[in-house]
Symmetry: C2
Subunit: 657 residues, 2 copies
Amino acid sequence: MGFNRISVRGASGLVVVLAASLGFGCSSQPKGQLSSAPSGSVANLMKERGLSEADVSAALQTYTPTGKKDEYYTFASGGHGGNLIVIGVPSMRILKYVGVFTPEPWQGYGYGDQSNEVLAGGKRFGKTMTWGDMHHPALSETGGDYDGEFLFVNDKANPRIAVIRLHDFITTQIVASELIQTDHGATFVTPNTEYVVESSQYPAPLGGGYAPIEDYEDKYRGAAIFWKFDREKGRIDPEQSFAMELPPYMQDLADAGKLASEGWVFINSFNTEMAYGGTLEGNPPMESGASQNDMDYMHVIDLKSAEKVAAQEGKTKKIAGMKVIPLKVANEEGLLHLIPEPKSPHGVDVTPDGKELVVSGKLDTHATVYSFEKIKGLIDAKKYEGKDAYGVPILPFEDSIRGQVEIGLGPLHTQYDDKGNAYTSVFIESTVAKWSLKDLKLTGKQKVHYNVGHIVAAEGDTVSPDGRYLIAMNKWAIDRFAGVGPLVPQNFQLIGIDSEPMQLLYDMPLPLGEPHYAQMIKADKIDPINIYKPAGMNPLTEERSLDAVKAGEERIERKPDGVHVYMTAVRSHFTPDIVRVKKGETVHMHITNVEQAHDATHGFTICSYNIHSSLEPGKHVDMTFVADREGTFPFYCTEFCSALHLEMAGYLLVEPG
Amino acid sequence: MGFNRISVRGASGLVVVLAASLGFGCSSQPKGQLSSAPSGSVANLMKERGLSEADVSAALQTYTPTGKKDEYYTFASGGHGGNLIVIGVPSMRILKYVGVFTPEPWQGYGYGDQSNEVLAGGKRFGKTMTWGDMHHPALSETGGDYDGEFLFVNDKANPRIAVIRLHDFITTQIVASELIQTDHGATFVTPNTEYVVESSQYPAPLGGGYAPIEDYEDKYRGAAIFWKFDREKGRIDPEQSFAMELPPYMQDLADAGKLASEGWVFINSFNTEMAYGGTLEGNPPMESGASQNDMDYMHVIDLKSAEKVAAQEGKTKKIAGMKVIPLKVANEEGLLHLIPEPKSPHGVDVTPDGKELVVSGKLDTHATVYSFEKIKGLIDAKKYEGKDAYGVPILPFEDSIRGQVEIGLGPLHTQYDDKGNAYTSVFIESTVAKWSLKDLKLTGKQKVHYNVGHIVAAEGDTVSPDGRYLIAMNKWAIDRFAGVGPLVPQNFQLIGIDSEPMQLLYDMPLPLGEPHYAQMIKADKIDPINIYKPAGMNPLTEERSLDAVKAGEERIERKPDGVHVYMTAVRSHFTPDIVRVKKGETVHMHITNVEQAHDATHGFTICSYNIHSSLEPGKHVDMTFVADREGTFPFYCTEFCSALHLEMAGYLLVEPG
């Protein structure tokens, strides 16, 4: 671009100058300069679309051109959608919904043998659950930092824990314990992912039995389950897992200690009043009964010692198949302590150095900063201010904290950056508050839209936060987006936190599900595969299936347990493409996608048989069903794979039995 | 902003000038100027993020700041995800996934009585299908233009049609006919939405019976169903609907005539070879057997006359409960004609004036432009080049067309703009071709990434296209996005079509499902409600439910059919919050969200009972289940509604029976 000398007055003039010099189309420019020009000058675009200067800056900080990759992945829980949401940052584009607790047919998740087996792992009282209320994802950690290998997440409604493998983004395991009837303090991992923590929310008789509500204080209990994760196998090992009985308070969020506090687990709670409602029976509603006390209790658990106690003969009880440390034993062994925390706390968040814990009370205006060193000192010195009704020692509040910060009305969750700042979501006033950990001073506030729940900063709950980006996970959106009826999306707002003041960068609607917590990880920490190799792999075993099929070896075999169809899929046909069975026969489909090209995915369904599989390159799937309807049922490839995709079809012929 | 005089050299210099004058943060500026400043100057941002000038233009054409609304809604089918995708344009943010063929728990769709009733309408052979393969959405039309009231969409795998109501974005009806075993030419509506067209793809014995594949030519058939839509009731009326038997070709996409061609329906087809595969039995695979002929057939149906014939005694047969016009009658009455169309056609798209039809052959390189006037003339003159094996008259190809345009390898679908241009997707070469309808000349091509299937332009299939925006619905993304494992998202690319040349504006990953077709409608044509009024409304009947509950009238009643719980939901409690039943009792939950504030949504679940409802403001839901497990089951609000949301809970106590 050549030399220019121009004189300009005011912003719009300058914008036009920019437009011209950038070669953007601009009526005052000779036609020649338009050839390289996308439509509209910056000035015109700002005018046409009503963009402010801040909007232009935000647009350029988030827009990610074709072929360029996002810098971070954000993994958000799908709330009562039951599936995991993978989001690219800063573009805020949703990259994938991963089927976890809710069957998802595009992925064939819950419509074929392999994934049905995964879902069956989460049975409750013998029944397979077909949805979940997903709350808190936890990335696997090494040394307190995300390692990008696995992700764990909970189902609050049908308490379960799922393991998602991040090299192929699939759910590989679901475990459930009937010890508890809901969870909420889940999932949180220890710094090297030895344990995945799941603690209950609404107390109930341990193991799922019946007890009159009037026996609440006697017979209802909370519990924390410590699921042992075997990284080698990539699986949770229920046999090596154990739990601890807790008082019938409503345990809420939790966090695992790190560095200075490694080996400890912190779980806060509300309803230490032990209210259980009964509005039609003359009691106050739960939320007022549960909001009487000015202080509730944080649970401080010595996990390292608990692990040793759980390993000893006679120290645990088996309840619903789970090894449980009774409260009595926990007290005798000094495994559990309580500390008062301000009114109806929600989040407890360990600082990056592991030395402190920040707790916020929903009905308080402060963030309270606890010192782990002080807590440890009080525990070692057995300096108690008393015990609760269940004999759990209570540490004095004033001696446990370093101080408090006045935040605003309804503080909930805290995240951290790389400069010693903490960020706390403030639900009632709809802001994100920024404050200095060092001197406990509020330094800024960013308005959000509206009613922010959790927030997530880049690696903001690890030992080494990145700063840069923070997402406010707003519960209400109201007027932010084009209307889609009474059920309104949530609103994720991306905020730049390296600038001073914070800068609102992007509003992102959540089209499906209500995320609670999320974690944001550097993209280069995740190393996904593109194909399954060798062809014929069963993703769950990561080995070639014994029923895998090679091109040329396709066949149909009748065995005592039914008809076995060994089928290959390749652009653009299934072999065999005609399958003849008799009504009532059990059909075992064994299908291998023999392709090894990135994105050469096929899908398989048989019309009206309610089965479906996604066949990524090299993947092998099995599907079993009874041919219980006589007739002529087309099957076809459901994933547009080639110019002759529609011809990739065949027939299941079910002859009269 | 004050007066500046500056001299600048080159683009980056100018950009910094802009940055400074816009008050963007810029190291050379005095701190004072930073206060109002978002982070980074435009120049720095372009450099940091590797943005080109075209990228800046694209970013500013798509970025939609907080509180600003998108200009268009795009409704995309969810493919084998089975749910409808609502996208805002130009931001390309997904606003909602609407539950349609696949249960969706966030919306409570398929987890309560009302929506279970909707899903039951789509039973196949007595079984409720729990997923669908959604292909082609059709917005309701008035005078050939979108009216924004309803949307219809099909399930190819378990042939069904769904009705989605756009004032609250919910599925209100699903209908299924066992006449056909798959569909693909669905859904397409007549210009005033009198009929919703659903035609079959893979031939089978009509009605779902068995017939040997060797009897394919004799016993297998296609069919087109014309579902009558009652706009007053907002429902399809199966009693007033009828079908037409078609030859056992593989009917593909369809379109309804408009203006000049109103009252006619066009359905193309491939596999006029009537191949049915049989690779293990010595036959060629389907896709080669089906690709022998150089020409296949377009079906031209005189719907207005067919409607009259269907109303006459003795002219139709009932098959699987559907009134069907047999091929013989269709021939006798002159309701059906065939016209040759180039090799393995896919899309048939009527021009905005209704005077012409554009057909593209997957194995051809042309777009072929048929003249309806010529077709009508040939039919009136009975000028046939012969009849097919089923006695259907064939019109001469050369006399039916105005001409052809050389497009490229693998043309599929065509859309239109407001300036007389047509746009055709070219699958194999991964481009969108722009050509002039008037003189049939190719005028431009836009590369896309990769393997584009359908395309959608703003109101691009109506009588009055808008131009402006076009979305290339690319089947493969390969390297476009941060990796998410072997199952890769689709890639929607937004293209500006008012500029010359076309401009690529945005790459959008599809996180869930594989969309096929989409339609883009002006946002101001849709008028969504924010709440259900009066409180207690059953959205399906749009009337206050007889079981609706008012505050103060909550109660639990025992009736012969079980325990009826009349419950209200309001921030932050359910009343009643304790429900006592005996094991084995049937429980009928009747829950009204008595709130009338926008976005004041609650959710309701009972742990481990696998039920869930979304309770938008004013909505009433019913849930019925058997209390088959003795125990203590918490219930709670699943939608974060207030600071005391977690306290919005209660207990279902199932006492021993």
